[in-house]
Subunit: 108 residues, 2 copies
Amino acid sequence: MTYATTIVAIADPTRRAILERIRAGEASVGEIAACLPVTRPAVSQHLRVLCDAGLLTVRQAGTRRLYRLAPNGAADLRAWLDAMWADALSSFAAEARARATSEKGTHK
Amino acid sequence: MTYATTIVAIADPTRRAILERIRAGEASVGEIAACLPVTRPAVSQHLRVLCDAGLLTVRQAGTRRLYRLAPNGAADLRAWLDAMWADALSSFAAEARARATSEKGTHK
DNA sequence: CATAAGCGTAAGTCCAGACTAACCGTAAGC
DNA sequence: GCTTACGGTTAGTCTGGACTTACGCTTATG
């Protein structure tokens, strides 16, 4: 059920911009805020949400805090997506099969 | 960039409940609303969002409208997730390699 | 120790969006 | 035709959360 927090975390455009900034490697809060149209405290709050969702990891370096993507942060979400659409495809196939046999029965 | 609308669509808990209800096969608006703690108009609005995001398809059957999961509705989101975390893993490997060589150089 | 740099936190504002109630259109059944 | 079921749409309310400002804490540097 933790995939729900993951979805909420990446639903915000500012947080996705943070992920895009982090994508190539770790960065400090100030470096991230410099690329965004919001203040540094706002970035801090977003980073907190992303960390709580398990998408980011932190590393202290002096007075700076370096954030990076957590290796398997989106695993739960991906598993949920896969399961959901696997069910959809199988049910679709089952109904198509049922419709085919019923049409053969009614000759129409 | 359409993955953004997909994320926003599945970020709402009520809309995820709709997806769970649809998961096993198509259902009408009334059937969906009967399982949820919100009114039918609210369900209609959510179904519109899900359709606009390409996650659902509709089929008219008399006065009823049957909704089902679109086969490849989450493809864009999946691709984005895959690309994002592939970059993260490769950058992580690259930095780990760089750190290893620098430590070997400094003997510490 | 004093100063500065870098962040997190608290309090308060504001707006997107989730919701309900009321309405209207359309297709089936009498 | 009239009536009933089924749903989409509109108008309006209200709450969660994104944002800023102000403050305090911690670590490096002189």
